[in-house]
């Protein structure tokens, strides 16, 4: 359990949010040209990093807006929060 700083509402408990998985997986531009391998990669394969991971969250029980988080999955420490469409503040 941890606290998440929603960029719209401020600090709230993690239980108000829902995790949306790995961030920055862009939808294929021309889906009809994708091979089965590329579809599998887009739909199912995940980095599932132990360490610093970029991920999407949604404030389900609040403003219901989506945003991005940089979080260390080995200790659940959040390093940065940034809005959808923004560049990650740390690399």
């Amino acid at each position: 359990m941890f606290i998440i700083h929603c960029p719209y509402c401020g600090e709230r408990e993690q239980s108000e949010f829902k995790a949306g998985g790995e961030a920055h997986i862009s939808r294929p531009k021309q889906p009809s040209e994708l091979s089965d391998d590329q579809w599998a990669e887009y739909l199912f394969m995940r980095k599932n990093i132990k360490g610093v991971q970029y991920e999407r969250w949604v404030h389900t029980h609040g403003c219901r807006k989506w945003f991005n988080i940089i979080r260390d999955t080995s200790n659940d420490q959040i390093q940065a929060v940034y809005k959808m469409g923004e560049k990650p503040p740390i690399k």
């Binding site: 829902k18 995790a19 089965d36 579809w39 394969m45 999955t73």
Partner: protein
């Protein structure tokens, strides 16, 4: 040959105050090279090594474990064993395991305390009733014992359940698999470790894998905290850390690792002599031989390797437990913990070859791997030894995420994932 455990060895050792028992497994340093290496010394990994040595005559095997054997998810699960899965592929896989469980203590000469006390799955709404009836029929067509119970029969089988129609999620019925039950999870790891050790398998603890060395598509060995070990075959059985090992080999897997929690109460006199699982409210409970209630909660929805989950998950589970079993309202909880489970998009496991020759993965068991331990080890050993899957695990290959031929047990497996 190890000394056989029996009533006579117990009496004999009593005379020396139980101080001269032979060690159940050695604690060797790694050799320079092995024919096969298993990464992960949990139940599945140790079972794989055991069957590789026993059925496939590969003797030069090492199991490398970063902590101590059975200290990961093997020692953290709620010990439930059942095989009442909906789809044919899953039914085949889990019932294969259940059949091995039935003779496992004798085979290993180690009491794994397998207890066929039955597993009951409850229905709380009309859709649950339809789903559970459908699953009962599917199970029976696959030769798996299953019966559907109405509310009165549920109450008769487990009298402490509150079957009042006035509760938030009333009990409308349930299914019962009588061959299902529980086992002592630590004993499973220890029994397989002792059996594998006797056949010459090196069990190397406190040895963390740091890298997978390969030359093009061929494996050369593994880098560990105890140095480089040469091998041509590696079976990865690393549960929540499977993606970490895959990343070392340059592979990506369709897995997400999430915390799953469980808790036990203070010990009390026998009050529940079966296992009751409830899909809709996500609560399951049984009672250990020590008298503690063993309660399984749900997973958090975010990726984490921290081996601790959120408080609200435990709270939700205990709310459901208290509504179903008002008798537990003043029970105190003794311990709570989390384990990291690797979940596939279709909530079915992967027992498969990979694009790298000699590298095999046994992962994706998600929230329900313990029940499959013996079957998983047996089938994974077959896959490693023959470089081909057994027909029972052919459907659980990695390629199903490319072909789309998924084994979609999500929600169909009698418990929510």
């Amino acid at each position: 040959m190890k000394n056989k455990y029996s009533i006579f060895s117990l009496v004999k050792n009593a005379f020396s105050y139980h101080e001269n028992w032979e060690k159940a497994w050695k604690d060797p340093e790694p050799k320079k090279e092995y024919e096969a290496i298993i990464i992960g010394g949990g139940g599945h990994g140790l079972a794989t090594a055991y069957y590789l040595a026993k059925k496939h005559n590969i003797k030069n095997i090492a199991v490398v474990e970063k902590g101590w054997i059975g200290g990961g998810n093997t020692g953290r699960n709620t010990t439930i064993i059942r095989s009442n899965y909906l789809w044919d592929a899953s039914a085949g896989l889990y019932d294969h395991a259940l059949k091995i469980w039935e003779g496992l203590s004798q085979e290993l000469n180690y009491n794994v305390m397998f207890s066929q006390r039955g597993v009951m799955n409850l229905a709380h709404n009309l859709q649950d009733v339809r789903d559970l009836k459908r699953r009962t029929h599917a199970n029976r067509l696959n030769g798996i014992d299953a019966v559907y119970l109405n509310t009165e029969e549920v109450k008769k089988f487990c009298p402490i359940i509150n079957t009042s129609p006035d509760i938030r999620y009333p009990v409308l019925g349930g299914t019962l698999q009588k061959r299902a039950g529980t086992a002592r999870h630590d004993a499973v790891a220890w029994g397989y470790a002792r059996g594998a050790d006797e056949m010459g398998v090196d069990i190397i603890q406190n040895c963390e894998v740091k890298g997978i060395k390969r030359n093009g598509n061929n494996l050369e060995g593994i880098e560990t905290t105890k140095g480089f070990i040469k091998t041509k075959k590696v079976g990865v059985v690393a549960a929540g850390h499977s993606s970490v090992i895959a990343n070392m080999a340059g592979l990506r897997l369709p897995l997400e690792s999430k915390p799953l929690q469980a808790l036990v109460s203070e010990p009390v006199k026998p009050v529940i002599d079966t296992v009751v699982m409830s899909n809709a409210v996500h609560a399951y409970v049984s009672q250990s031989d020590k008298g503690e209630l063993v309660i399984g909660a749900g997973t958090d929805d975010y990726v984490s390797y921290s081996q601790k989950g959120s408080h609200d998950i435990v709270e939700g589970t205990l709310n459901a437990i208290l509504e179903l079993y008002p008798i537990f309202s003043r029970m105190r909880m003794l311990r709570q913990w989390g384990g990291i489970v690797d979940i596939c998009p279709d909530a079915s496991p992967i027992i498969s070859k990979t694009s790298i020759k000699g590298l095999y993965f046994n992962c994706g068991w998600g929230t329900g791997g313990f029940k499959a331990t013996p079957g998983s080890g047996d089938l994974f050993a077959h896959t490693i030894a023959n470089d081909e899957p057994h027909k029972l695990n052919a459907a659980f290959n990695l390629n199903r995420f490319v072909s789309g031929d998924l084994v979609d047990e999500h929600g169909a497996a009698a418990v929510a994932h």
